[in-house]
């Protein structure tokens, strides 16, 4: 990477759509622009897709989850070999990572809005020093991830790097969920989106180990 990165290309659309419009909108965009044939399977044969998408629920449906802007289906196909999908893996892997990063940014926005409206005594909850420190920890993680993803084209970051970035996104989301309070534990809010985001990482990259960043915030 040189000192300057190329201007944001189409990968940033997944991230921005995730941040501004939500999970289903971004995942639908990913499917519409990248899917060729069937949706790509993760290494274990699993698929996470917006409900109603062609080919999304061809295998055994294992879970259906409702989020703020629609529903998501997780399925596993034992019969159709992954080769039925001609979706380029490198593009898919980068796309899902950008999408998850956008969702993490959306979660940060939710934390700032929610805690900005709460109080401790006469002060804003968001302005408690421990809270500020916790938010800053999460932002450090996000800045690292953002810098790694900036200007990346499919194949630039290998699977090992993308797996690590996805694990880092999961850990960052966990920090933000703790900051959000019990509202993050409700099935109809930002906590549910984070749950599905973790599932996307789990299916396409494998579950994230707890790792060394887990201690902060």
């Amino acid at each position: 990477m040189t000192g300057r990165t190329a201007a944001a290309d189409e990968w940033i659309r997944y991230r921005r759509t995730a941040r501004h419009d939500g999970l289903v909108a971004a995942l639908s965009l990913l499917y519409e622009t990248l899917c060729d044939g069937a949706p790509p399977h993760g290494p274990g044969g699993h698929v996470v897709a917006p409900a109603g998408f062609v080919g999304a629920d061809t295998g055994d449906v294992m879970a259906t989850m409702t989020v703020e802007d629609g529903a998501i289906v997780a399925s596993r196909s034992r019969t159709a070999p992954p080769s039925v999908s001609r979706t380029p893996w490198a593009a898919w892997a980068l796309g899902t990572t950008c999408l998850r990063f956008g969702l993490s940014e959306r979660l940060l926005d939710a934390v700032l809005a929610h805690l900005g409206g709460r109080t401790v005594g006469d002060a804003r909850l968001l302005h408690q020093q421990m809270v500020k420190g916790g938010v800053a920890e999460a932002v450090i993680e996000q800045l690292e991830i953002e810098t790694m993803l900036a200007g990346a084209a499919p194949g630039d970051l290998d699977d090992g790097v993308l797996s690590a970035l996805n694990a880092q996104i999961t850990r960052t989301d966990r920090m933000l969920l703790r900051l959000l309070g019990a509202v993050s534990f409700l099935a109809d809010g930002p906590g549910q989106v984070a749950r599905v985001s973790e599932l996307i990482a789990d299916v396409y990259f494998g579950p994230a180990p707890a790792g060394e960043h887990g201690g902060a915030a």
Binding site: H46, T119, G181, A182, F185, L186, R195
Partner: protein, 386 residues
């Protein structure tokens, strides 16, 4: 290191055996929290139904190896909480019984109120709740806005809203904190019956710990007889928030043990379901086992301190609780990572543990609040260091 005495060891063996019954029910209860009504005869559930009822109100305690158990001791409660949460955390929380509210009735109730409360508990399996948190105030509970105002000679009226209250939609009785006047001494707790007009509890769908059935409670001019106001026989400084804090100090080691149980369940899931482990996984699991042991020791230490009325008890319990909620999250993620891509779908029980773990952070005070409490103990000398 702390070692358990023979009495507590016998209890630990028994609760471990009881907990075996819970695992097969875990996913059923996760799908359908009302399934608890079908499982009231499960041994651990029937123990929890009366756990913490003191000897004078419980003529029929559980006897193990010749020892009687009322669940009034903190150490035995943490032993039970760990084992039951290894079985299923959701079922532990879904059980009827007086655990949270009983500690407050004990601390703030007069003889008449205790008698009334415990006789209701002994009558039949009775769910109870404890309502402190409000929609706009969680950690800053002292600033609550629910009000309790006199209404005629022998009644009060309760008005406001509470949120994230466990079990309130299935409870008969509960304790609600409310304000009688501005300021820190203006907070009071009342015993209420959920059949009272104006009381409603709406279930909230949650990501995990679904058995607990968190609710949003609305108190729309609920009339409360004056003899249900707790702490009237206590000094003004010992009513309300002070008593709540004392009660929560006593409960906290149990919440920590609950988190430890979730973490241990994840660890044991890997041992039971992954036949071959590579060296790196083995190493990670060994490290996790050590962290479980360390936390268990800290929890036992805090529980013993509570039972001995040591001033450091609440601070030790804060340390244990902060560590436990984090370890529950980390251990469940670590366990998932021992299985390949799609582990969350292929291992629903482990996925459930990872979802349950996320709730521990908020129960009985968040990590930040526990750390602030611990710091107070450190600088004010309550946390004595040898």
């Amino acid at each position: 290191m702390i070692e358990l005495d023979d009495r507590t060891l016998a209890f630990q063996r028994q609760t471990r055996a009881w907990a075996q019954e819970l695992k097969p029910l875990a996913l059923e209860l996760d799908r359908d929290p009302d399934a608890i009504h079908r499982h009231l005869d499960v041994a651990i559930v029937s123990y929890l139904t009366r756990m913490t009822v003191p000897p004078e109100y419980n003529p029929d305690p559980v006897v193990i190896d010749g020892h009687r158990f009322y669940g009034t001791g903190t150490l035995e409660r943490v032993v039970l909480a760990e084992e039951a949460a290894v079985g299923d955390a959701g079922l532990l929380l879904a059980s009827p019984g007086p655990v949270m509210s009983g500690v407050l009735v004990d601390a703030m109730g007069d003889e008449q109120q205790k008698k009334w409360f415990y006789s209701r508990i002994m009558e039949k399996p009775t769910w109870t709740f404890f309502a402190l948190t409000e929609p706009d105030r969680g950690s800053d509970a002292g600033a609550m806005s629910t009000t309790l105002t006199p209404d005629g000679d022998h009644h009060f009226v309760l008005r406001g809203a509470k949120r994230y209250v466990g079990n309130a939609a299935r409870a008969d009785l509960g304790i609600v904190f409310a304000r009688t006047r501005p300021g820190p001494l203006g907070v009071t707790a009342v015993l209420i019956e959920t059949s009272a007009a104006g009381f409603t509890a709406e279930p909230l769908e949650t990501i995990g710990l679904r058995g607990l059935r968190l609710t949003a409670v609305t108190l729309d001019d609920v009339r409360v007889p004056a003899d249900q106001v707790l702490g009237r026989h206590l000094r003004a400084t010992q009513r309300g928030m002070w008593s709540a804090v004392q009660g929560l100090n006593r409960l906290r080691p149990g919440v920590a043990a609950f988190g430890l149980g979730i973490a241990r369940a994840a660890y044991e899931y890997v041992l039971d379901n992954r036949r071959t482990l590579n060296t790196a996984d083995r190493h990670r699991l060994d490290r996790l086992a050590l962290r479980l042991t360390e936390l268990r020791q800290l929890i036992w230490r805090s529980a013993i301190a509570v039972d001995d009325n040591e001033p450091a008890a609440g601070y030790l319990a804060s340390a244990a609780k902060a560590r436990a909620s984090r370890l529950a999250e980390e251990a469940t993620l670590e366990a998932l990572s021992c299985f390949g891509p799609g582990a969350r779908l292929d291992h629903p029980l482990l996925d459930k543990l990872a979802r349950d773990a996320r709730g521990v952070e908020f129960m009985e005070g968040t990590g930040n609040i526990q750390k602030l409490n611990l710091f107070t103990g450190l600088v004010q000398g309550g946390l004595r260091r040898d």
